[in-house]
């Protein structure tokens, strides 16, 4: 892997971290309305998977969408403005934190219902196959989502259709406030793939290089016509389920254990061995801080949509197209 790609990975993970730490502060200060779910702890997953995707590939995100959006190249300005409900937001202020998604960047959506994006990604993959395109689709979902019917129905159809889709489970230790080792009936999510005769892999989700290599294998196979894969990446949710959840059920020693495996720390520790100099990293960090500052400053100044815009975009506006 060349240093340019490594630098992109670091920049992306830093962007996600700094952006979501800002979201955390603003949410606590009640400066942004509504619910916010930060991606704090899983930065390596979105970054590693997206590093292995092409811009024309598709992803389905969740209500914990900020990390996926940033890694897929959605502009920070539009994201910050969306959080504030401004007209310059990437969803024109209609969606807010839970639904930050830019179709132009290959995001099918940021789905507010647990597991809802899985079958949608399967459909995008089927579409790619039928259209003769080499696009692949990735569905991101949490460990709690594997109990939803659409996870199983989507996996079954994907396998049956040999759809070029990768089901990426972000196992962050908790389904809302329920521990993963309690709610999973199997040892791993990955082994559920056997019911659908689908290859699967379980890997460290705190190491972006491991994520990248694991994802690349599955994506290359899908693109070559080899069908779907279920990937399970192990990470940790450093925040509560949502901003405002004190997360009292997460034991301090558990948090501390995972802090040592923080994906940014892991990357920084190995950076010089990979040919990145520490000064370059601190330079990236400073640039990202400035980008995030600028994005939020612009968002705060941006106008709200006109109230009557509530009525727009319910249906296609045939008059204008």
């Amino acid at each position: 892997m060349d240093t340019e790609q490594l630098a992109w990975m670091y920049r992306t993970m830093r962007r996600i971290r700094i952006f979501d730490m800002r979201v955390k502060d603003l949410s606590e200060a009640k400066a942004i309305p509504g619910y916010a779910h930060t991606y704090h702890g899983s930065e390596a997953i979105a970054t590693g998977v997206m590093a292995a995707l092409q811009p024309s590939d598709w992803i389905a995100s969740t209500y914990r969408s900020h990390g996926h959006a940033i890694a897929k190249g959605v502009a920070l300005d539009g994201m910050a403005a969306e959080l504030y409900g401004r007209v310059t937001g990437v969803c024109k202020g209609k969606g807010g934190s839970m639904h930050i998604s830019d179709f132009d960047k290959g995001m099918l959506g940021a789905f507010g219902i647990v597991a809802a994006g899985i079958p949608v990604a399967v459909g995008a993959a089927l579409s790619a196959k039928l259209r003769g395109s080499t696009e692949v689709a990735v569905a991101f979902f949490g460990d709690g989502a594997v109990h939803q019917g659409v996870f199983h129905e989507g996996a079954g159809l994907a396998s049956l259709w040999k759809a070029p889709v990768i089901l990426v489970c972000e196992n962050n230790g908790y389904a809302e406030a329920t521990a993963t080792d309690y709610h999973l009936n199997t040892e791993t999510v990955a082994e559920m793939a056997c019911a659908y005769n689908m290859p699967s892999e379980r890997a460290d989700g705190m190491d972006v290089i491991t994520v990248y290599e694991t994802a690349k294998g599955a994506i290359d196979r899908a693109r070559a016509g080899g069908g779907p894969t279920l990937l399970e990446f192990i990470s940790y949710r450093f925040s509560g389920q949502f901003e405002g959840d004190p997360g009292g059920y997460q034991p301090p020693e558990e948090i501390e254990y995972w802090r040592q495996r923080d994906p940014l720390k892991v990357f920084e520790a190995a950076a010089s061995d990979r040919g990145l100099d520490p000064q370059q990293l601190s330079g990236i960090r400073a640039q990202v801080e400035a980008e995030v500052d600028a994005a939020f400053a612009a968002a705060e100044q941006a106008p709200y949509p006109e109230p009557r815009e509530t009525l727009d975009d319910v249906y296609v506006d045939y008059g204008q197209e």
Binding site: G34, R86, M98, G144, A177, T178, H183, Y249, P251, Y304
Partner: protein, 338 residues
């Protein structure tokens, strides 16, 4: 009599029902919270659902009766149907009504039809508690009020309390009821306060409540809209317009008589619901007036609802979306001036 929040009134109803009847159990996602981390002191009852409504119940009644489920609404709703038919009184929580889609079959085809379809032998005494309502800046998938899609289904009863006292009394009645009941809790009403009796006294299902007496106009208001209508009525009173406000409280069964009696006195009807306008409670109640009170009407029946759009996130858009009190007052004046 004490003053309680609606949230605490609901918690008290659940506590009293569970204490009185060992067959009452609860199932839902993180209705306690912290499952799998019970060795950690902060785990038990860390949540009580996302709004803390059921906090303390697992500590008091144990995790056997207050069950944190997987995120599998169709699964545990179906399990509730089975448990209800065989001797328990399950209360299931649908975290937000917006998630109805993933559980809907078990409610509309299983819970609702078992008794009828199999010759009247089964009883399905279950309650589905769920959270509704816009005004939380929670966007299109966490803000809906899907009253009508459940009210539409024969076999289900639907309840939407607007005061803490009613929340307690109606929930007690719903739990004791032998049919499946859908119980809507409005997220913007959880922290509202009111007098609530300590006694576990049910409020009967199917009885409306007249919240304000008036002679010029009847407003039938749905759940949170009752408080909006009361606010509008105060401003209208200054202008000499006296509004009568009817809170149906339950939508299936619907207390038609109280609505029709009010309409007989006032001759004018405005129905206010924050739901979507099409095929909703507002048009349902408007049709009732057209059908059964035509002779009493002195003005066209008017409905005031949200527009036919999903719930937007941005504050000015969501405020435009909701039938806020000034819009209610304007619609009322239009009717009185007709």
């Amino acid at each position: 009599m004490r003053t309680l929040t609606m949230k605490d009134a609901i918690n008290e109803a659940l506590t009293q029902a569970m204490a009185a009847d060992p067959t009452v159990i609860m199932m839902g996602e993180d209705i306690a919270g912290g499952a799998g981390r019970d060795h950690h002191p902060g785990a038990m009852d860390a949540w009580g659902g996302p709004f803390g409504v059921t906090k303390g119940l697992a500590t008091r009644f144990g995790r056997d009766r207050v069950r944190d489920t997987t995120i599998a609404e169709a699964g545990f709703f179906g399990a509730a149907v089975g448990a209800a038919m065989t001797g328990l009184r399950p209360i299931v929580e649908l975290m937000y009504v917006d998630f109805a889609g993933v559980s809907y079959d078990q409610m509309i085809n299983q819970a609702a039809k078992m008794r009828y379809m199999f010759g009247g032998k089964q009883r399905v005494p279950m309650v589905m508690r769920t959270v509704v309502g816009a005004g939380f800046r929670a966007a299109a998938e966490h803000s809906q009020t899907l009253y009508s899609i459940f009210t539409h289904i024969p076999g289900l009863k639907t309840v939407a309390p607007s005061t803490p006292a009613d929340a307690k009394g109606l929930l007690l009645a719903a739990i004791q009821d032998d049919d499946p009941v859908v119980f809507f809790e409005h997220k913007r009403l959880y922290m509202t306060t009111g007098d609530v009796s300590e006694a576990a006294t049910p409020v009967p299902l199917g009885k409306a409540s007249v919240r304000r007496k008036g002679s010029d106009l009847t407003i039938v208001a749905v759940q949170r809209m009752v408080s909006f209508a009361l606010e509008a009525a105060d401003t209208l009173a200054i202008e000499g317009i006296e509004v009568e406000i009817v809170d149906p409280r339950t939508y299936s069964p619907l207390d038609e008589r109280t609505i029709l009696e009010s309409l007989h006195r006032t001759g004018r009807l405005l129905v206010v619901d924050e739901s979507y306008p099409r095929c909703g409670l507002a048009v349902d109640i408007a049709a009732l007036a057209a059908d059964k009170a035509f002779k009493d009407l002195r003005a066209p029946v008017k409905t005031l609802t949200a527009p036919h759009t999903p719930v937007p996130f941005s504050p000015p858009l969501e405020d435009f979306y909701l039938p806020l009190p000034p819009k209610i007052a304007a619609a009322a004046k239009e009717l009185v001036a007709y």
